[in-house]
Amino acid sequence: MKTKAFIVCLLVFLLVAGTLIAGCTTNSAKPAAGSSTPAVTQASAASATQASTSPKILRMADLSAITSIDPASSGVFVTEKAMVTEPLVGATQDFVLTTKLATSWKQTSPTTWEFKLRDDVKFHNGQPMTANEVKFTLDRTCNLNAASREMADYKSSRVIDDHTIEVTTNTNIPILPAILHYSNFGIIHPDSLNAQGNFSIPVGTGPMMYDSFDQQTRVFTVKKNPDYWAGTVKLDGVVFSSVPDHNSRTLAIEKGDIDFTVDLPYNEAERIDALPGINVEKYLTPRVYVLYVNFDRAPLQDLRLRQALSLAINRTDIVNHVLYGIGQPAKGFFLPSMSFGNKNLEQLPYDPVKAKALLAEMGYKDTNGDGIVEKDGQPLTINLITATNRPALSPMAETIGSDLKAIGIQSKVEVMASAAGNDRVSAGTYDLNLVANNIAMVPDPGYILPKWFKSTGDTNKGHYKNATLDAQIDDAMHTVDDKERLAKWNKVESDAYDLLPIIPVADYGVLIVKKDTVQGYKFDPTAHDYALDYEITITE
């Protein structure tokens, strides 16, 4: 504290002295930049830093700059956070699908679906929402966003009447309604495009409508939709800015420059929560910390080694000391709140003694007394890589490394930029890869399980092959009956939990930081980080 005070005094001294001396010695500062004082006049979006008075304006600070306000590519922002657009299908807190802009849906043939639409929804330009705009949006999103098109396996859609639309897919996609819940499918009016057919502003149906977007500061403001179909919108508007530096964001909410933000440094959570007027809430998001296993490495093909690795990891300690309690030890591959997860799965045990026994059973023994087990004179080495893109990955990898060391495995932990990590994975030069993977971009087990465990899965970069599991997954993917399909997915999940092609570590936590004046906020676990809805408000 003394040092701080000293520095402050020095700073003040430097400034004051400088100004004084400059004032006494006339004409001393003529050279260079003779262009007068900096004229920072960037009127409009400045409201981001002004205190809100009578209108109820919520000031948000996001982590990354808003690069686009087109829901086809930035649906997470435009649909979930800014509330400008809405998808056809909603989801509850337990990841169960509900109606949104569509009132019902049914699969009319293996590749066609019929969606009935609400007839009381108006776009922000006053036009009623019909099947034409839905078709326009689905065509456009799938045309512009290859990832969305691939996920839905979208072929085309057909307007049956004003409030009925038929969607055709190339193959049988039983989870199409869940896919249409994805934020990139937020419905827009063709007025969102300019005369040249390029996107200009999002004209949606949500509780908030476009107000302004400053290309320079990337500050996006939305205002209340007075005609919202689902109820009365309580806020008058929201200002979205971005403060990428974690410390600055912390200080900004501490000072009161913003009302709501997420993901402060984990070690700051308790201190900020204790401050008057600010509260910090911890939630789980659909993301898990998992270890990808490289099956091209011979020893890892042995289930006993994978079990030993899992037994060596102290998940409870990791959650308490690395994540500061933000998150929880994994129980299965899904979050406890997800209705479709297998509820019979327990947290994987921590048992270093049993882990050592498994290694011994495989023939690994510490013959030279260096604490590392060997087989045929070769020490057992595990190369664990992870990326820097999420704050907890690096300390978590270090902790797992020392857990492995404790059972006699020589661990080599490497932390790198995610692009470099991808290259290592492609080249196959790693044993374990610690990542925080999204598990429910689409609220259905059919989203992640095939990606992870099918031998041809997108995310199966460790080349795990299991014909039985492949057949089970194919069967589940194409089962039309919801209950039957769910039972099949639960079986896939529990079998994979026993086989450990991927070793789960912990569920991902998010910090929601808001002022006490922010009322009516409900955490939406299906969102990425956070989502807002029309009932959130701010009091004086």
């Binding site: 520095i7 260079a32 006049t41 700059a65 990832a147």
Partner: protein
């Protein structure tokens, strides 16, 4: 003089082309595939997996399958013949030219504000120290400069926020748009160069004051103030000018850390986010602009020597 100008200008163009080529090719040498990175920063999440189909579509959209030198030549010919820097892979709604012109303003404003602090505080304080050599006030200022040089700017920035925003509640923490927003980043950026300038001015001034022509002027009976302002300062400022040029160039190149801390929408912020997303046209164009500004500032500084000291001529 004309020959000198032409030579310098040619050198400037060559340097820009070389820098852009270097940036372009080095970005491709960095681990990770461009199409994959672009997809992760646009249509799928940062750590989500990008399918071959998505990669193929992005690659064909931006001609990423062409050999790198073809891509580079296309970009360069666009710049030379059409003055077009291409369009961004990530900021889909804007051309690179627009992005850069939007980012350049805040960077220039911040650079000028910091430079003003450096000049207005650094030069007079340096002179003051030289005139009061080894007196307590000189020692205090020199001590302060050591501290200012030793602390990293990001730490100083956070301390400034802590004191002036949080404790004293005078200024906003971060953001852009009001005059109050510029104070903290400008001071945070200025502290280090100011300290260096103080020390250089002091040393240079002391050296000048020890010259025979100063002794002669004193002997002639001129007032000390007159000697200082009309004889000493011009000679003492030459090394300072070089230093100021380098610092100003640096400031114009954008200051990634400070811009990030204060959420300042400058070119440093644009560059760093574009490097992350492998937005090659934006990164290369940013580097071209930064190199150009750095060279121009240095060129102007070189020319200004002549005005301060007419004995310096350019052949």
């Amino acid at each position: 003089m004309h020959y000198y100008l032409i030579k310098r200008f040619g050198f400037l163009v060559l340097t820009i082309i070389a820098a852009s080529a270097l940036a372009y090719f080095m970005l491709h040498a960095v681990p990770g595939e461009t199409a994959e990175n672009v997809a992760r920063h646009t249509i799928v999440g940062i750590e989500d997996d990008v399918s071959e189909l998505v990669k193929a579509e992005i690659s064909s959209k931006y001609n990423l399958n062409d050999p790198i030198w073809v891509q580079y030549t296309n970009w360069l010919s666009g710049l030379i013949f059409h003055g077009d820097l291409g369009s961004s892979y990530v900021y889909k709604d804007t051309s690179v030219m627009t992005l850069i012109s939007l980012a350049l303003g805040p960077t220039i404003i911040l650079a000028i504000a910091s430079m003003l602090i450096v000049i207005v505080v650094g030069i007079p304080l340096g002179m003051y120290c030289a005139v009061h050599e080894n007196r307590p006030s000189d020692l205090i200022v020199r001590g302060a400069t050591i501290l200012s040089i030793s602390f990293p700017s990001f730490w100083l920035a956070l301390m400034l926020i802590l004191v002036f925003s949080l404790t004293l509640d005078l200024l906003p923490v971060a953001g852009y748009g009001t005059p109050a927003n510029i104070v903290l980043p400008a001071v945070a950026l200025a502290l280090h160069p100011t300290a260096v300038v103080i020390r250089i001015v002091r040393t240079s001034m002391l050296e000048t004051l020890g010259q025979q022509y100063i002794t002669f002027a004193i002997a002639k009976g001129l007032s000390f103030g007159h000697i200082l302002w009309n004889h000493a300062i011009k000679n003492a400022l030459i090394p300072v000018l070089t230093l100021l040029g380098v610092y100003f160039g640096n400031l114009l190149a954008g200051t990634v850390i400070i811009e990030n801390i204060f959420a300042w929408p400058g070119i440093g912020n644009l560059l760093i986010s574009s490097v992350d997303a492998r937005d090659i046209p934006v990164v290369t164009s940013c580097i071209v602009v930064i190199v150009a500004m750095f060279l121009i500032v240095n060129f102007v500084v070189d020319l200004s020597y002549h005005f301060i000291d007419p004995r310096i001529r350019y052949e």
